[in-house]
Amino acid sequence: MKGRDLLRTALEAVRTHKLRSALTVLGITIGITAVILTVGLGAGAKADVRAQIDELGTNVLVVSPGSTTDSSGVRGGFGSASTLTMSDANSLASDVVGPDIQAVAGASTSSASLVNGDTNWTTTLVGTTPSWTEVRSRGVSSGRFITAADEADAAMVVVLGPDTATELFGTTEVTGRELTLDGNTLEVIGVLEPLTSSEETTNNDLAIVPFATYSRRLIGGTTRDAVSEIYLKADSEATLSGAYQQAFRALANLHGTTSDDDADFSIATQQSILEASTSVDRTMTVMLGGIAVISLLVGGIGVMNIMLVSVSERIREIGLRKAIGARPRHIRRQFLVEAAVLGCIGGLLGVALAGVGAILLPRIADARVILSLGSSLLAIVIAVGIGVVFGVYPASRAARLAPIDALRNE
């Protein structure tokens, strides 16, 4: 019996028992859909995080304030103290201190409410230096960025993110317009180029003022020189670890830290940030994936169950086929191919359903799903495999039936 005949026989059997086939296929379809969507959600979450981290710029290190130990020996929590200052940032910018560090930008951030007439918009206010654009690989689409002169004068100027400009003014052509922040009037001198790498970005909604303006005229605070982050840009990927070492040593010296464990700051690479943020997603993906695999297993058991019913229902057909010359292996193959066909249909429907899910899910929930051709093909192969694996037992039962017993069955 040739492959083509086997396939035709299997398709006829599937078509003849439509309801039964549909129920068998359903289990596989749900399992495959769950598996593909889980993998797709994991990939989507990872891509989002990746895009957001890429928006930091290329070859960037982020220095954050760490824990401190006060005079009584109590160690404060991570980020609890403003241990980083703009003078730290300025030291790192020196070529002697950090030959592999190309550019440095300290930044302080806080939430601020900007007002243009009746329009009120709360955004992230960033106080930083002109090198910010170089470190973060950003540029302005209109106007100019803050300059050293603005910094020296603590000028009342602001550069807006494109989204912020649109929210406040309804347009991004806002150079020369004015807005107020807690009663202070700021002149808009430029608008940042939009970032398009991720959909969920917050990097298009911000307002940047010179650091001097931020610390002396707008926000103030106890330690006026403190920054919330220092961004470092290495010359290239090859010098990234060199830059890391130089920055760590320089800051440890400046802060009088003797051992690495006492450091009151921490330096993160984009890679380490990515790993930290995706490890949570990975745990979720593995858990959801486990549930999906279990549902696939249940689908497989469904195939076996219904194939067993099919064998006992078609016992006369098996007897007849044997009487007219079918060998045990012909019968075994017939049922195996039938199970594989059911698995394949289930897999195809599962991929289609996952495709629909990938379109609907981002609309219902705040989740992005990335489907890949590779994982879809793999899912179909797995579905066929499940059909075959769970079809083996029913098929060999059918193959073992003695023709007389099968024919005698009324």
Binding site: M1, K2, R4, D5, E12, A13, R15, T16, R316, E317, G319, L320, R321, K322, A323, I324, G325, A326, R327, P328, R329, H330, P403, I404, L407
Partner: protein
């Protein structure tokens, strides 16, 4: 020329636990090429067991069975399947047609297992349907045919491999008298065209259509002079 069927001292014992039943005991018979033979006997006589052995659906416990000159007494499942496919054509009481296949696809089925290419299968299946007078019903499904027509499709399926022997097991058991006559006429017709036919039946009238009657009783063949007695008991 060798007989189509030659049984020498064939016995069949069924063992269930400690209980063993001799369904057939020392059966010796031969059927020549072109013969039309009826095997008859009451239920429990061993008639069915004999049919299963003749049809290579089962193997004898003792004795020798030659079918078309080939010893088939101790073949395995695969070889028995091949022998059934090549040398035997079955007609059953229940027709045993596959409901989801059209008449010609049912007739074609044995050829699928012989591994013939599709176009040749189709030609031969349509030719066999022609021989049973159902060429115009080739594309009907069994459900769209009368009982008599269904049994004729089954006969066509038995014919299509050009078997050495056609084995008809109570072929008229499920048919009304008109259809019975129809099918028996068809068997007569096939016999006239040189086919070897073994008809298993418990109906005296049906058995009378054959040239020779083999009566089975208590697992053995009753001698020819016992036929009158047998006839009375049927």
């Amino acid at each position: 020329m060798n007989p189509v069927i030659q049984l020498i001292g064939v016995g069949k014992t069924y063992t269930t636990g400690s209980l063993s039943v001799d369904a057939l005991r020392g059966v010796t018979l031969s059927i020549e090429q072109g013969e039309f033979v009826a095997v008859t006997g009451p239920s429990g006589s061993g008639k069915s067991t004999l049919m299963h052995i003749l049809g290579c659906l089962d193997v004898p416990t003792v004795g020798l069975y030659r079918l078309a000159g080939e010893d088939v007494s101790s073949l395995g499942d695969d070889q028995l399947a091949e022998v059934r496919n090549k040398h035997l054509g079955f007609v059953f009481q229940q027709f045993n047609l596959l409901a989801f296949l059209s008449a010609w696809r049912n007739v074609e089925l044995p050829l699928v297992y012989s591994g013939l290419p599709p176009h040749e299968r189709r030609t031969r299946a349509l030719d066999a349907l022609e021989q049973v007078g159902l060429a115009d019903r080739a594309h009907h499904r069994p459900g769209e045919l009368s009982g008599g027509q269904q049994q004729r499709v089954a006969v066509a399926r038995a014919l299509v491999t050009e078997p050495a022997l056609i084995l008809a097991d109570e072929p008229t058991g499920n048919l009304d008298s008109a259809a019975t006559a129809d099918v028996l006429d068809l068997l007569d017709d096939l016999h006239d065209r040189g086919r070897t036919i073994v008809l298993i039946t418990h109906e005296h009238d049906v058995a009378q259509r054959a040239e020779r009657i083999i009566a089975v009783h208590d697992g053995t063949i009753v001698p020819a002079d016992g036929l009158a007695v047998m006839g009375a008991s049927i």
